[in-house]
């Protein structure tokens, strides 16, 4: 897994750019979407607020227009000769009060400016007070412009009222004045639903609150002219901008909360209706959609990362398998096959690889078989050679024995007296013949061993017997060279089992070598037992053997240096044969030597070498 993460790996090379590309696309598209939806939402919200404000203005205007309309109807009643009696005017007024709860008082002024009738909800009706109102603005203005709206005034310093005066159009019509309680606009304003936390309110020209869902604020004559949206509106009016809608803007409410505020003018009265919605609420859906987009983009990025990693992993994993497989095959595991099941070019590549490996394995196997066959052939050839040598030795030995036998007969003067000169020659013949016989015997032995024809016999023997035989055979040789021959057999050695003749042959060979290579001193034979093995050592005081030669001497036809062969004679096969014999007994032969001081040859054989379970 870790190899996927190194900087130079395919995984890092492709996963990184893929993730960046896909996620980058998602993030950019998300940002673009957020930007446009923010802009669109904002203008849509402003438009909605604007429409709400306009609708509110229309409703309030309709309220005022209805008052106007109701008054207009009464104001058409003429005075003078064709005039309507006061009693009927009073009934009309009572009807008006009944129809329009907002009006608390109606008074009738004749064309001369005298108040003739006043009908009230609270106070007693006054008939014919004749109060002179000819210079009162409500009379003057109404007569001049047909309709007059006073500014807002507060009764008992708390209730907002407005005076509406209307003059009739016909001849002899006077002015009808109504006092309207603006608390009734409250119904209109509080019924305006502006979201959850929003509201609508109405301000007069001075920025005083006329209507607000919280009536207390109205009754307190709250001044809102300092609010930013109110200032912006009055600034627009001052600059003579048409009293059309000022764009919806972010303002503040009385508590200082930021609100999205839109306003609309109520034309006949110079009032302004404001519709406000807390910014947090107004933009809540926008924020929600932004959050949604952010979350979607985030999820998209996550998915794209996972997908990219998955895709790259899918691509890299078979390559990894290929790499690991190639490495194993390269290391020699030719039986290994690469398993890639991706169903694409990579699988084809793996299959090619496998075919290649198969062919490699086949040719390798063929090569091994050939080597084996050739080796076998060589072994057979070698056996034939050994067989031939064995046969040859035998064939050589028979005539040689005849030569030696006849020579001995001549020496024994069977065929008559032999002069001294001829006797000497015969001695040499005898000596050379025996040497040749030894050689042939050795070659025969070795050939037999190599041909696998040497079979050990198994009989019980004691090393006392073996050493006695060997010492007897070697005693004269040692004596000839004035060497002291010592034999030391540890007492109480068990009876051994093995081929006594061959063990004796090994000991004779070692003793013969020791005597042959030692010019002065002694040759000591010692037999001990250790770990179920007889250990036999033959120590001499000869020249010793160089370290590097110590193994070579056990090989066939080797002597330490070829010069010694000439003086010391010998076939060079003795130690090789001895080694074979010891090994055939399941033992071991080795040498210790100090150059200039002498050598000690050891061999060990199992006590029960000849018994079943021992060495073959």
């Amino acid at each position: 897994v870790k190899t996927w993460l190194w900087r130079g790996s395919l995984f890092a090379k492709y996963a990184g750019p893929l993730v960046v590309l896909v996620s980058g696309g998602l993030v950019v598209s998300g940002l673009v979407q957020i930007y446009f939806s923010y802009q669109e939402n904002k203008s849509a919200l402003a438009r909605i607020q604007q429409e709400k404000a306009a609708a509110a203005a229309i409703r309030i205007e309709r309220f005022v227009r209805e008052l106007e309309h109701d008054l207009a109807w009464i104001s058409q009643t003429p005075w003078g000769l064709r005039g309507v009696p006061l009693g009927e005017r009073r009934l009309d007024s009572l009807r008006l009060l009944r129809q329009v709860p907002a009006i608390t008082e109606v008074s009738h002024i004749d064309p001369g400016g005298r108040e003739r009738l006043r009908v009230s909800r609270l106070a007693m009706d006054v008939i014919g007070s004749n109060t002179d109102l000819s210079s009162d603005p409500k009379f003057v203005e109404a007569m001049a412009r047909k309709t007059y709206f006073s500014g807002v005034y507060f009764r008992k310093e708390s209730e907002p009222y407005i005076t509406i005066a209307m003059a009739g159009v016909g001849e002899d019509t006077g002015v009808v004045v109504a006092e309207a309680n603006l608390k009734f606009i409250w119904d209109v304003v509080s019924n305006l639903k502006v979201g959850k936390g929003g509201n609508a309110y109405v301000l007069d020209e001075q920025g005083h609150l006329i209507a607000h869902p919280d009536i207390s604020l109205v009754l307190q004559k709250t001044d809102l002219s300092a609010l930013p949206q109110v200032r912006a509106t009055s600034a627009a009016i001052d600059q003579g901008t048409a009293r059309g809608p000022v764009d919806a803007m972010i303002g503040k409410d009385l508590r200082g909360t930021e609100v999205l505020s839109a306003q609309a003018a109520i034309t006949p009265l110079n009032w302004t209706v404001f519709v406000e919605l807390p910014v947090a609420e107004a933009f809540a859906s926008l924020y929600a959609s932004i959050w949604r987009t952010v979350i979607l983009v985030f999820v998209g990025v996550l998915i794209s990362i996972v997908a990219s990693l998955w895709i790259v992993r899918r691509m890299v994993a078979p390559i990894q398998v290929l790499r690991a497989g190639a490495a194993r095959i390269g290391a020699g595991a030719l039986e290994h096959r690469i398993e890639v099941r991706s169903g694409d070019e990579l699988q084809a590549l793996a299959e090619e690889f496998n075919r290649m490996t198969e062919r490699l394995q086949e040719s390798y196997a063929g090569l091994e078989r050939k080597v084996e066959e050739r080796t076998h052939e060589l072994q057979i050839a070698s056996q034939h050679k050994s067989q031939f040598l064995a046969n040859m030795s035998h064939e050589l030995r028979t005539p040689l024995n005849a030569v030696l036998g006849y020579t001995e007969l001549i020496q024994d003067q069977i065929y008559g007296a032999v002069p001294d000169k001829i006797r000497e020659v015969l001695d040499r013949v005898q000596k050379s013949g025996r040497h040749l016989l030894g050689l042939i015997n050795d070659v025969l032995d070795l050939s037999k061993i190599e041909a696998g024809q040497l079979v050990l016999s198994s009989n019980d023997f004691t090393f006392e017997g073996v050493t006695q035989t060997a010492a007897a055979a070697m005693g004269s040789l040692a004596a000839e060279k004035n060497l002291h021959l010592r034999v030391d057999v540890t007492p109480g050695l068990p009876v051994g089992s093995g081929d006594e003749r061959r063990v004796t042959q090994v000991l004779l060979n070692l003793m013969g070598n020791a005597i042959k290579f030692t010019d002065a001193g002694d040759v000591a034979v010692k037999v001990t037992q250790s770990d179920g093995m007889f250990v036999v050592s033959v120590a001499d005081t000869g020249p010793g053997i160089q370290e590097e030669d110590r193994q070579k001497i056990f090989e066939e036809f080797r002597q330490v240096d070829s010069s010694s062969t000439k003086t010391k004679s010998g076939t060079g096969l003795g130690l090789a044969i001895a080694k074979r014999i010891v090994e055939m007994h399941g033992g071991r032969i080795w040498v210790d030597s100090i150059v200039g001081k002498g050598s000690t040859f050891y061999f060990s054989i199992p006590v029960q070498a000849g018994r079943p379970g021992g060495a073959s």
Partner: protein
């Protein structure tokens, strides 16, 4: 919050505490004159509420009765002094302007009602019941006795009309209490009564009991029928 309905209750609550918020419903007192509040729009103390504060309003009853019975010669006023004399003075002034005599019956305890009725003298009479808790709660008895004496009677409260009073004119107590309830809610929500403006009733209801009118043999004139908000048939 103390919710005090009626003039005596408001007076008692106000004299009892200057800390506990009081929401008053009082159709008689002038809250500024009584020093309940500093001004209508900023009460400044622990009291706010709904005040009619229109003593001249009582004149409307005389006016209505006079319209109902143009030959009215004398008005019998049932007057409980506990809320104060503001309405009584208005009635006196109105009676004077109409040239109608006044018989004032002081009622201080329920037993006074029966006695008052037995002491009514004269003909072409009508009865005005001035607002007071005592009289309010005896609306039924007052209506019954008026009817027994075949006297047209009027009061401020709808209850009296339902009980058999021929005419009722005044701000509906129910609406005033609704507003008061909202003020209580505001105060419980953390607002201070000192900052809650005193409100005044905006709606005035004229109720006519035609059943009673029939019994009394009175024809309700058009000018009254015109403005009747409700007619009990």
């Amino acid at each position: 919050v103390i919710w005090a309905i009626s003039t005596p209750a408001v007076r008692a609550a106000h004299s009892a505490t200057r800390n506990i918020p009081i929401v008053a419903v009082d159709f008689t007192s002038d809250p500024v004159a009584e020093r309940y509040v500093e001004s209508y729009n900023r009460p400044g103390g622990n009291l706010t509420g709904v005040f009619l504060d229109a003593p001249e309003f009582a004149g409307k009853w005389v006016e209505l009765l006079k319209t109902l019975a143009p030959d009215l010669s004398s008005v019998v006023v049932f007057y409980d002094p506990s809320p104060g004399a503001a309405h009584l003075h208005a009635v006196e002034a109105a009676a004077k302007s109409f040239g109608v005599r006044l018989q004032v019956m002081e009622v201080r305890k329920p037993a006074d009602i029966e006695r008052a009725f037995s002491s009514i003298k004269g003909r072409s009479l009508a009865v005005i019941i001035l607002p007071s808790p005592l009289l309010y709660f005896h609306s039924e008895q007052l209506a019954r006795l008026s009817l027994k004496r075949r006297l047209p009677a009027t009061s401020m409260f709808r209850l009296f009309g339902d009980a058999g009073g021929v005419l009722v004119y005044g701000p509906p107590l129910g609406l005033a209490n609704e507003r008061a309830a909202e003020l209580v809610a505001k105060i419980l929500g953390g607002a201070k009564p000192a900052d809650i403006p005193v409100e005044r009733p905006t709606k005035f209801e004229l109720v006519i009991n035609l059943k009673t009118a029939k019994i009394l043999g009175i024809t309700i004139p058009q000018s009254i029928l015109l403005r009747a908000d409700e007619v009990i048939r």
